[in-house]
């Protein structure tokens, strides 16, 4: 059974067919890249998986469990995390606090336990702090720990958002253009971190990325969308030589 299974998902916005019967699956421990020209429906697909959008038809399953009608927070509680193309950070919080929000589903403290602080509230907070500090160190964000995220450079904010998703300790991690706006040094660094998450933590990853070099190097498998439909799915080698894919990209360049 696939870890993540998307079957025949269709999503329309008025007259726009953002997704047409897209099926796609990711095996446990796999790192799959989603590519396609602008407006192909890649983000829409992640939105359907994470529950931000409700598809008109089709199903989303994780480890065989039907997620299709779950609300986004219920999916998170079951181990699904994602990042956003245009950043979804909590600007009024520090780096550390953003990552702590990622621990929300691992905590139980209610208003009373939190507000009274002594006892369970405090013990729980300290446990979470350790978990999050480990991730901050892993992402080399230590120096920025207490900075408000809004004051950080774009590439760093992207890394913080990855950290917040990792704090959830997801079974499935969805990344929407994690390298956008980065220079090649930053991209290499992030690629190394993504590989480590995938290999060492055995986290299953589906990643949208435009940098073809990175996609070819990082992913085990590549899935190509064009005009809301899946046009190819295979190893980097197969995709490189796929005539339909070349046409889709060339077609876009001609615009």
């Amino acid at each position: 059974m696939a870890r993540l299974e998307v079957s025949a998902v269709s999503l329309r916005f008025g007259g726009v067919n953002a997704l047409r019967e897209v099926s796609f699956s990711v095996a446990d421990g796999e790192l799959v890249a989603l590519i396609g020209p602008n407006g192909a429906g890649k983000t829409s697909l992640l939105n359907c998986i994470s529950g931000v959008c409700r598809p008109q038809s089709g199903k989303v399953l994780i480890d065989g469990e039907d997620f299709t009608s779950l609300r986004p927070h219920q999916r998170a509680r079951r181990g699904l995390a994602r990042t956003f193309q245009n950043l979804g950070l909590f600007k009024g919080m520090t780096v550390l606090e953003n990552l702590l929000v990622g621990r929300h589903t691992h905590q139980k403290s209610s208003v009373l336990a939190g507000g009274l602080w002594f006892g369970r509230g405090r013990r729980e907070e300290q446990g979470q702090l350790e978990a999050v500090l480990a991730i901050i160190e892993f992402l080399e964000l230590g120096d920025l720990r207490d900075r408000l995220v809004g004051t950080l450079a774009y590439g760093l904010q992207k890394r913080v958002e990855l950290g917040r998703a990792l704090s959830l300790e997801p079974r499935v991690l969805l990344l929407d253009e994690p390298m956008a706006g980065m220079n090649s040094g930053e991209k290499d660094q992030l690629a190394r971190l993504i590989i480590e998450v995938n290999e060492r933590r055995r986290t299953t990853i589906a990643m949208i990325e435009h940098d073809m070099g990175m996609v070819m190097n990082l992913s085990h498998r590549i899935c190509v969308l064009d005009f809301g439909a899946k046009i190819a799915d295979g190893t980097p080698e197969e995709i490189r030589n796929h005539p339909g894919v070349q046409a889709a990209y060339l077609g876009q360049k001609a615009h």
């Binding site: 529950g51 931000v52 929300h104 507000g115």
Partner: protein, 337 residues
């Protein structure tokens, strides 16, 4: 070492400063005039109410014009529980807060669908519904004539003047402020801010946004209800006139001038907005004494100066008084732990 954002106080000087400040406040009733004691009590009450509104509007980002209504709910609950059922204040105050919390949660339901100005309109409707009930449900609320509230008592000692009442209000305010600060540095408070900053990302990271919006309304209204309860105990006679819509706007002014989402800001804002009219009254009073022909002019000037002061404070410290305080040079000289 605990990161600053997770500490109870930003600096090591915070706790001793708070204790010294409270001690100083405790000694005030010994020599303050009854006029300033009344103001002091009202500052304490306003601080609790502003803290409540700040949790909802400052931290969670849900604009509410319903806080005068929730004050009224707390006040009428106190009048009924203490007057009719003769319950002691240790029961009445939390119970009044709880009744206001439930009311707040009900009126918070529209927030699941509405945002910004639309939510402000919905909470405004809540205000008029509550006041309508207060005016027309005469058997319980006393209608426009209002209700008398007995003095709170403790072991047979009646807290029947501001001097004694203040010694109830002060510790209550301190406890509620500490609770709010603890909330801000733990899971529920982070969920509130996450909803304010990015509600979709909040939901995707596992926060039940609907649930936490309602929790925020409940916690906020609890605070405001406690403030209403104390207001009833202080006023001893409450009627719908005690809860005009302008009171709700005063509270919004407090948190905006003081600092959105900030505990210290709630204190500073509540103090500023409560003291300003008093200072203007004292000022215009002494001027009218000297120029009796211009009494009316000074009365209308007061409103203008009130508005102008708020506008100026927003123009020069848009982040609120608390931010100004934290960034002031004097404060930086105190060694951060």
């Amino acid at each position: 070492m605990t990161p600053p954002s997770l500490r109870l106080f930003r600096t090591r000087a915070g706790l001793p400063a708070l204790m010294a400040f409270c001690l100083a406040l405790c000694s005030l009733p010994a020599f303050a005039s009854s006029y300033w004691l009344d103001v002091l009590c009202r500052i304490g009450i306003a601080t609790i109410g502003a803290m409540g509104l700040n949790i909802l509007t400052g931290s969670t980002g849900q604009i509410s014009l319903g806080n005068a209504a929730f004050l009224a709910v707390g006040a009428y609950a106190t009048a009924a529980l203490a007057g009719r059922f003769e319950l002691p204040f240790v029961v009445v105050i939390p119970l009044s807060g709880a009744i206001a919390a439930v009311t707040g949660m009900l009126f918070g339901i529209p927030s699941l669908r509405l945002r910004g100005l639309y939510l402000a309109m919905a909470t405004l409707a809540a205000h008029f519904i509550v006041i309508f009930i207060a005016v027309h449900w005469e058997s319980v609320t006393g209608g426009v004539n209002g209700l008398a509230v007995p003095a709170p008592s403790l072991f047979g000692i009646e807290l029947d003047d501001d001097r004694r009442l203040f010694l109830l209000i002060l510790p209550l305010a301190v406890l509620l402020l500490l609770f709010a600060r603890n909330l801000a540095r733990t899971r529920p408070g982070r969920a509130f801010i996450a909803i304010r900053d990015q509600d979709i990302a909040a939901e995707v990271i596992g926060i039940d946004v609907f649930r936490y919006k309602l929790i925020s309304f409940a916690v906020s209204s609890f605070y405001v209800g406690v403030a209403g309860s104390l207001l009833a105990y202080q006023a001893r006679l409450i009627s719908p006139e005690n809860f005009p819509i302008t009171l709700a706007i005063d509270y919004l002014a407090m948190i905006i001038v003081g600092g959105l989402g900030s505990v210290l800001g709630s204190v500073l804002g509540a103090t500023f907005i409560t003291v300003l009219p008093e200072a203007l009254r004292v000022g215009s009073g002494s001027l009218s004494g000297r120029y009796p022909a211009m009494v009316e002019l000074f009365a209308s000037l007061k409103m203008g100066v009130f508005g102008l002061t708020i506008i100026l404070s927003l123009a020069f410290q848009p982040q609120g008084m608390a931010a100004r305080w934290h960034s002031s040079k004097i404060w930086r000289k105190v060694p951060a732990s």
